[in-house]
Amino acid sequence: MKRIATGLCAALLLFSLVGCSDATTNVSDKNEALITIGTDKITKGDVYNGLVAQGDISPVVKALTTAVAANAIETTDEIKAAAQANVDTLKASATDWEAYLKNSGYESEEALLEDLINQVKETKITSSYVSEKYTTLATRLEPRKLQVVSITNKDVVNEAQQKANDGVDFTELAKTYGDGKQNGVVSIYTNASGLGADVWKTVLATEEGKVASQTSYNPETATYYLIKVIDAKTNEFKDEAISVIAASTAKNEDGLSISEEAFNYYLNKVGYGIHDAIVYSALLSESAKYERVK
């Protein structure tokens, strides 16, 4: 009994201490000799290791992006039509269509169309994510439909604010007093649109349909802003807000932009598994969007 228990414990201890090392990969025919000199062989495996060590992960990134787009984004008629339009454009400009396909590495027109469908789908990853996570992202980025006029000339600010309070149209105010950057047109803004923290406080404190009673100032850009809040109910302008949020460069708490966050979300949603430590390390050096969620 004691011997069995001791043996079992020793085996478990050994197992726990040995552990497993991070996996790396090699080609299936890694021992195939490409060059032989005397008894020495240069194998496909040797070449693979050297090529991987060069750190070019572009083929992996392309394959990953394709896999995410193909599996996370539904192929709609709109996407098919956009891809087909691209095929038609290419076909119209090619002098020898068959040669073009061959030189571009496509076996057929269908293969090109499939690739282009995927390319269109790749462009939809971020907006699809924003649409799916709209409530969360709207809470984070606080989109508002606003009219904003930016003014850098301090002498005219008070006069412009008075006119705004009196109900003068913002586009007219922009023409008269503005610096041309924010021209008073109704647009979607977020707290990452670059108006500045103090200005954004004013936006949030202003009721829907009202003009902010005080001109707000962004010291970083030395700019004054006249603000009118058109709509603060984020679900009422969801479609417009989605494209604004998708294009935002705002970073989340992990330092990921919205597009990186979207990619990482879908990557892990489609059951992402990474099985080569060298490649994974190179991917993470490029962007944290390739991080697997444990």
Partner: protein
């Protein structure tokens, strides 16, 4: 049976309890150690790099892509294969005891250099560089340096048989071993009395002492004090100030110049050696000459390696790779001529 188990449990309950606790810890420790490791995955005989949805991206696919990526019209795979060919050809040469000692010293110097550049993470940088050249990593640094030494030997043997290349460098660049003594001046156009006095003192000292001894004693060039004023072998394309360069290449072997004014001050220049034979007999100087020959003849090193590989009866298993390798090296493919 049941009674027996109960009896055993009653008798050894403490041992069993301790055993269970120990096992639990061991299992937890094993899980904790391995939970962040990258797990391997294979489908059939193919290693998988990543999986996502129904996609398994294999190492074979990655190899094909990497091999065929072109840089300046050359496939990555072919240039990588050439590096491995170079390494394998070098490894066919015998190693002497002197070579081993020399390589060991070079490896230590190189490791120190990388440490000074990259700190404690120096080994990861060295690993990356060496892996690209087909070595496992820093553990094979000596092997890499030995291969480079053997490669130099192959190139030298080739040049001994093809000495016109050496002659051409001596004709074009007129290599010479040069020493100098510098009296540094804040304003070389108006040397101070102290600077003038130092120049006079140096001239006087040279009447009784060797140039190198005086250089070590008086020269203001801190970079050459340890070499007794020697700048080593220089070619006429060296990055030396023009006045120095012009004066040095007017001098004959063994001669010393008068004071030469440059932006740094005043120099006495001595030509220590110009003989082709003597320069080529010195290992360090020879390396400079070989480096210049290889720089002037970009594909020469590859051709020398190829010549050696052919002597060693190199065999390619794939005709396409052979053709691409020959094109990369710059060798005309005879089979194409026949076609």
């Amino acid at each position: 049976m049941k009674e027996q188990i109960v009896t055993i449990i009653k008798k050894f309950w403490f041992v069993i309890l301790v055993g269970c606790i120990f096992c639990s810890f061991a299992i937890y420790f094993a899980w904790d150690t391995n939970k962040d490791k990258i797990p391997g995955k294979s489908v059939g005989r193919q290693d998988i790099i990543f999986s996502a949805a129904d996609v398994n991206y294999t190492a074979d696919e990655y190899y094909d892509s990497l091999f065929n990526i072109s840089n300046d019209g050359v496939k990555n795979g072919i240039s990588q294969l050439y590096l491995l060919l170079e390494k394998t050809v070098a490894q066919q040469l015998d190693v002497t005891k002197e070579m081993k000692e020399e390589v060991k010293a070079s490896a230590e110097a190189m490791a120190s250099y990388y440490k000074s550049l990259y700190g404690t993470h120096y080994d990861s940088y060295m690993n990356m560089q060496l892996q690209m050249l087909g070595y496992e990593g820093v553990d094979e640094l000596e092997e890499f340096l030995m291969d480079q030494t053997r490669l130099d030997q192959i190139i030298f043997e080739y040049l001994e048989k093809n000495d016109t290349l050496v002659d051409a460098v001596f004709t074009k660049y007129q290599p010479r071993v040069i020493s100098h003594i510098l009296v540094a001046c804040d304003d070389p156009a108006n040397p101070t009395d102290a600077e003038k006095a130092k120049m006079a003192e140096i001239k006087k000292a040279l009447k009784d002492k060797e140039f190198g001894t005086v250089a070590a004693e008086y020269s203001d060039d801190t970079g050459t004090i340890s070499t007794n004023g020697s700048l080593g072998l220089q070619l006429n394309n060296a990055s030396l100030v023009t006045e120095f360069l012009n004066a040095a290449w007017k001098l004959e072997n063994g001669k010393t110049s008068d004071w030469v004014k440059t932006e740094y001050g005043y120099h006495l220049i001595k030509i220590d050696e110009t003989s082709q034979k003597k320069i080529m007999n010195d290992e360090t100087y020879r390396a400079t000459i070989i480096s210049q020959i290889l720089s002037d003849n970009t594909d020469l090193k590859k051709k020398i390696v190829w010549d050696k590989a052919e002597q060693l009866n190199v065999k390619f298993s794939d005709e396409t790779i052979l053709k691409e390798m020959k094109a990369y090296i710059g060798i005309k493919d005879e089979t194409e001529d026949k076609e």
